[in-house]
């Protein structure tokens, strides 16, 4: 199943991923895929514009470095502002997800007024 994700959702997930430490774009994609399983299989390309937008917002910053295989890679890192944004947004999305779950899991039919 291919899920079209909202920008906002993807951004929060990227922030969460980077909260573990610096990581390159490919790594971020892998990690989200591993954590979310098939349900969250994102189209990999859409990750990069999200990263650039987060960089523009000042929530993450980037620098070039060398990967384990000695390749030149661009590494992203969470900024203090990004950490604050993650805190604020993570709970928001959790609430949202719970609310959606409640609605979809409801056992009572809506009463007709």
């Amino acid at each position: 199943m291919k899920t079209e994700l909202l920008h906002g959702t993807l951004e929060v997930m990227v922030l969460k991923t980077l909260s573990w430490g610096r990581m390159h774009g490919y790594g971020i994609g892998r990690w989200i895929e591993q954590q979310g399983g098939d349900a969250l299989r994102i189209e990999e390309g859409s990750l990069y514009p999200a990263l650039y937008r987060l960089e523009r917002k000042g929530w993450i910053d980037a620098e070039w470095g060398l990967s384990e295989k000695n390749r030149r890679a661009k590494y992203y890192r969470l900024t203090p502002a990004g950490r604050r944004a993650l805190r604020a947004n993570a709970s928001l999305y959790a609430d949202f997800a719970q609310a959606v779950a409640r609605v979809l899991g409801a056992s009572q039919a809506p009463s007709e007024a």
Binding site: E44, Y52, W64, R71, K74
Partner: protein, 890 residues
Amino acid sequence: MGHPPNEPSWRRYLRFWRPDAKADVDDELQFHLQEHVDDLVARGMDPLKARIEAVRRFGDMTQIRHTMQELAQEKETRMRRSEIFGVLKQDAIYALRLIRANPGFASAIVLTLALGIGATTAIFSVVNSVLLRPLPYADSERLLVINERFGEGLGQASVGHFYDWSEHSQSFTATAAYQGRTFNLTEGEPERIRGARVTPSFFQTGYMPPLRGRYFRPDETEASRVTVLSYGLWQTRFAGDTAIVGKEITLNGEKHIVIGITPAAYTLTRFDERLWTILTFTPEQRTNYGAHFLTVFAKLKPGVTLNQAQRELERITEDIRRREPENMKQRGVQAQFFSELLIGNYRTQLWLLLSAVTFVLLIGCANVASLLLARATARRKEIAIRGALGGGRGRLVRQLLTESFVLAFIGGVTGLLVARFGIRFLVTTGPAFVPRLTSAGLDPSVLMFALGATVVSGMLFGLAPALRATRVDLQSELRVGGRGSGGLVRDSARSLLIVTEFAVALLLLVSAGLFLRSAQTLQRVPLGFDPTGVTMLRVALPPDRYQSPEAVQTAYMRIVDQVRAIPGVRAAAASTRVPMWGPSIDMGITVDGRPRNPDRVETGHLRPVTAGFIEALGIPLKRGRMFRDADLAAGAPWVVVVNETFVRTIFGDENPIGKRVYGWTDQAKPEWREIVGVVGDVRAFGQENEMPPEIYMPITQLPQGAWDAFQRSMTIVAAAEPNAVIAPAMRKAVSAIDPLVPLFDVQTLSDVVSQSTANRRFNTQLLTFLGLTGLILAAIGIYGVIAFFVSQRTHEIGVRVALGASRPRVIRMVIRQAAVLALVGIAVGAVGAWWATKVFGTMLFQVGARDPVAFIAAAAALLIVALAASWFPARRAARVEPVKALAAAG
């Protein structure tokens, strides 16, 4: 996914110099695909298939790559911008730190700039308010005033002219006639109001929407008894009561309905009329071409030029000449723009003041530049070190320029404060009749001007020092140990600044000198009368209660008697006019026994007076006798007294005593009057103007209609001891005769005389002030340069003294430096002034624009100041102890 093949590989090296956003995006994508392929291959996929799979999983590569590049580009632009701001901020902080480190130096510069920018801004705000802003009326650039040309001058138009011009012309959308007059407003406290009678179309020529109510309708006439009030009158007299529209007020004893109120901006000067009533003409008046009392306003049709209108009016006026040759002697027509009539007089004067104050700012900038140059020399070592450490020249220039701009902006902001006070000073002390002067203020265009002046100043005084300071030869500077080795003669930049300062200061001083000389000459012009101790007030008798000439005469004679009885008053009298104040009506004069010369226009200005008026003003008797009380008695023979100009223009060398003349009345029934006395001329129209021929006449012997022409109004004068305050007693005396008659223009004659030169005095004072400021700034400038010269050359002077140079010789050497600079500046300035002062033209009074006294005095003042300013540093130089100087330098 590598680089596109068409992109040269060297492009990648650009990243050494600055980040290459496009290449970074490609590299990042490349890395992603490689990693993915590796992962897939590790899981056992065929490398080729793995690559296809990786690209497929990625999605729309072209689109994503494009989005990423855009975002990256955007980010980089922002970074570069913030980098520039960061540098500027760093420079500004550095500049502020330097300013704090040397507050005396900085405050001298800021103060100079604040005064210069502030004064320039203040005068610009006046120029802006009076000259540059368009008039408030709709399409005001098409508003004209049409006058009759009379000989050399311009005169008012007759009713016949007005109708012919209006009805036979195609150039105008509207024409209107206007007659200024005063009204007795008797709601509550009686008051005399300046106003005008206008044809109903008047408010269409200079149109602004009414604030309340409406303006006159074309079908309304004088009999409609309607009036429009000015905003000012509505506020002061009726306290802004909106219910006044539609109510009745009493003007000259007649009820008028208030139909509208003009907006505040409609009134352009403090002397503008304050209410309007309707002027309509009888059929007889419409064919009258002989009585000239109308001002004609007209609005050009769009696309019609002033010249076209003028030519059309000339054609119409030539038609009138064919029909009315007798009335058109020496007469023509002249249309001009209303704005030109209103502010034309002030244009040269205000631009002159603005140039003068700009020159002062320029001298100030030169001083600041000179100070910065001096400091730049002292900072050579610092700059050399920064250069050696890799500070590029551009970076250093930018740093120094930033310092200059920081100083300029602090100066500019402080200058706004100065400007605020300056504007208040100009508005309160400026001549009262300058239109729109009172609305001068710090509006957006004035603030823009101040900003412009600040930026230009910053560039003027900042650029030269910055460029020069960075032209330092690093090696020699560091090797020599930072001792300034450039002498003054080689210091061409600062020499040039001083020469410029002195040239500009000379120009300012010559201008001030010319105006001072004019004022001085003017002061020596004899008035022809003695205003000392004379107080005047004007009275206008309402026609409803003082209809007949006898009633008017009796009332004025009684008022004069009452005033004369005031203790301390040594003489009292009445006249329709005092010199320099009040209405003046001239009339054609015919001499008994002399044939009328159709080409010659002989006129005299009529002055109805009571006995004793000429004596009260101290006008000297030249021939014959003054009026006696008996001349004013009923049935007395008709007599007149004339002035010397009257005699000279009409009788030449002939003795006029006993000659008979008439004027005003119809030729068919001449009323002969005998000349019994000749008195001295007075400066009736101000000290700068020619003296008119005048004819004094007892108020009991006036020609028919004269009281209507003078609006039954007279000036009462009372002579007492100088400084005696008799105005209240005079008011009481008039009220004792008629408590309902309004009094106005209560003032001393000395004030009247002083007002007549107020504009000139204002100009002269401002120019003198600016000239002196220029002088002081030039003195400070040359002092700074010479003092710096001495301090930089202590070592050399020490050597000279050690080698036997006497102290006077050292002093001479230093002063000579100053004198050379000052003299070159003065010479340059004199050449400039020689050409520039021509613009003064008629603003000078009996003083040539190249008056040698003004030139020599200005040059001498500057030279003396230059020598005096260099004396102190020279003395310091002479006191140099050779041993100490050499030891310090070693």
